[in-house]
Amino acid sequence: MGNDATLSEKILAAKAGRDRVMPGDYLLLKVDVALANDITAPMAIKEFKKAGGTRVFDPQQIVLVPDHFVPNKDIKSAEQAKMMREFAEEQGITKYFEVGRMGIEHVILPEKGLVKSGDLVVGADSHTCTYGALGAFAAGMGSSDLAGVYLTGKAWFRVPESIKIDILGKFKPYVSGKDLILKLISLLGVNGANYMALEFSGPGIAGISMDGRLTMANMAVEAGAKAGIFPVDEQTAAYEAERHIRVEKTGPDPNATYCKTLSIDLDELNPQVAYPFLPSNGRDIQEAEKDNIRIRQAVIGSCTNGRMEDLREAACILKGNKVHPRVRCIVIPGSQHIFRQALKEGLIETFIDAECAVSTPTCGPCLGGHMGVLARGERAVSTTNRNFVGRMGHMESEVYLSSPAIAAASAICGTICHPDSIRTQGEK
């Protein structure tokens, strides 16, 4: 193996203070950011205390976001959130984001500039890989890993092999990052990238927006990947500049070694729908339309698709239409900032006119927590990231994953459909 490194190897080598690290190397590294939420933080805090911890290694490293079961759905979840809040107060952790000031963790960390290109980020949440969109090395871990960071500032890493995803061409209308990542997961399989990093590259990525990249990196874990990482280009630099962060353009070395390369042409890509019960069950929307899949609920939001571009896309389709009488459509802006922006742009009014329910930011329905739990036999189309058995509620409910465009169109139609299939309400 030569000296040319993948982007993951470059970041990990820099953090290790070495010229080069190799796949399979185990490293003990100081992390830049350690994130936990209202489900995983309580367990990390307990482990920290059980191990004799009194003061955290560095409060500035730590970010705590209650987002899964807040505003709290029951007494037990309120107790969990309370434990986290009191820990933040006791330890002087300033990057704690309370209800009313918060958002879904993976939406607000990039938005607020709390993670940046080149950072080493760990989070006790599997979708921590989202920050790879910025060219950070970000990986999901468990609560004991987080407790370790609270104690020592460090976590352990195995340098991953990488799969190169070579992206060509340009998205067709109504096709977005969600469709691309669903397609890639269906090609790779749910464990096709287990222990590995996905490195996105090729001329096609210049045309993928930052919101689209965040969606793609977010779902890298659904192929088993440890990280999903984009090179730092003009678009990244512009995004970071808005947050007063200066970054240098960077990417993998030209002759880096990959264990596999997968090429995909965006000109050929159709909107995707991932059938139950695996995110890898992606099929073209045309096939889903033929299957005449009747839905009871449409969810537009989550750490995968709760950003501005997602809401704009959904609103554009919902404008002037009504949600099908049989369907509940739930729209969840990913952060307070996005909520306000959507309000300013008139999107919230569009959603309410279309008879959608609009919620304060929460992970809520994605994991069957609250704000849209499914009953036995109910079926939903959702812009979230998992469609496992019972994911959104009853064991005998079903989740079909899609982009915001498909979810919005399906909410109007009552069956899963392409936005082109939408007619005005009167004609139906």
Partner: protein, 162 residues
């Protein structure tokens, strides 16, 4: 260390929502979690009397999905003494190592059935299926992971090196 027990058989891609559904994650109390272990794949499993010292045998990608450490913790607290699978999802693997739940990666797990009596020797890297009278070998853990295991889990290891 020799681990003996009765097999509970699972297939590929057992995910963390099946191991411990999110509706039970409003607590991090291990005993409460254990009562609902595998609830969405085998309802009522966590409340059965006969799961103590059980051994899970599964296919590929065991523990995929969420990072919730509640999943291996629920399995461990329910009394399951080891998980054998063709492969483990990355975060589940590190969580299991970190909390000291023994896991074994075996290339082929097809020769195990529900209720088989199995014996595992972690040091020797062997699995013996007494019911089928068949032995299999597995490679040792990488050195770094073995050190974490020997230290008694990640936090004990981390504090030693502080």
């Amino acid at each position: 260390m020799s681990i003996r027990g009765k097999v509970f058989r699972f297939q590929d891609n057992v995910n963390t929502d099946e191991i411990i559904p999110a509706r039970y994650l409003n607590t991090s109390e291990a005993s409460e979690l254990a009562a609902f272990v595998m609830e969405d794949i085998r309802p009522g499993f966590g409340k059965r009397e006969d799961i103590k010292d059980g051994i899970f045998v599964a296919g590929e990608n065991f523990g995929c999905g969420s990072s919730r450490e509640h999943a291996p913790l629920a399995i461990k607290t329910a009394g399951i003494s080891c998980i054998i699978a063709r492969s483990f999802a990355r975060i589940f693997l590190r969580n299991a190592i970190n909390i000291g739940l023994p896991i074994v990666e075996l290339k082929d797990t097809s020769g195990f059935d529900e209720k088989d009596r199995v014996e595992i020797c972690l040091e020797a890297g062997t699995v013996f299926n007494h019911t089928k009278n068949r032995g299999l070998r597995f490679p040792p853990y990488p050195e770094f992971l073995q050190e974490i295991i020997d230290a008694g889990g990640w936090l004990k290891y981390a504090q030693k090196g502080k």
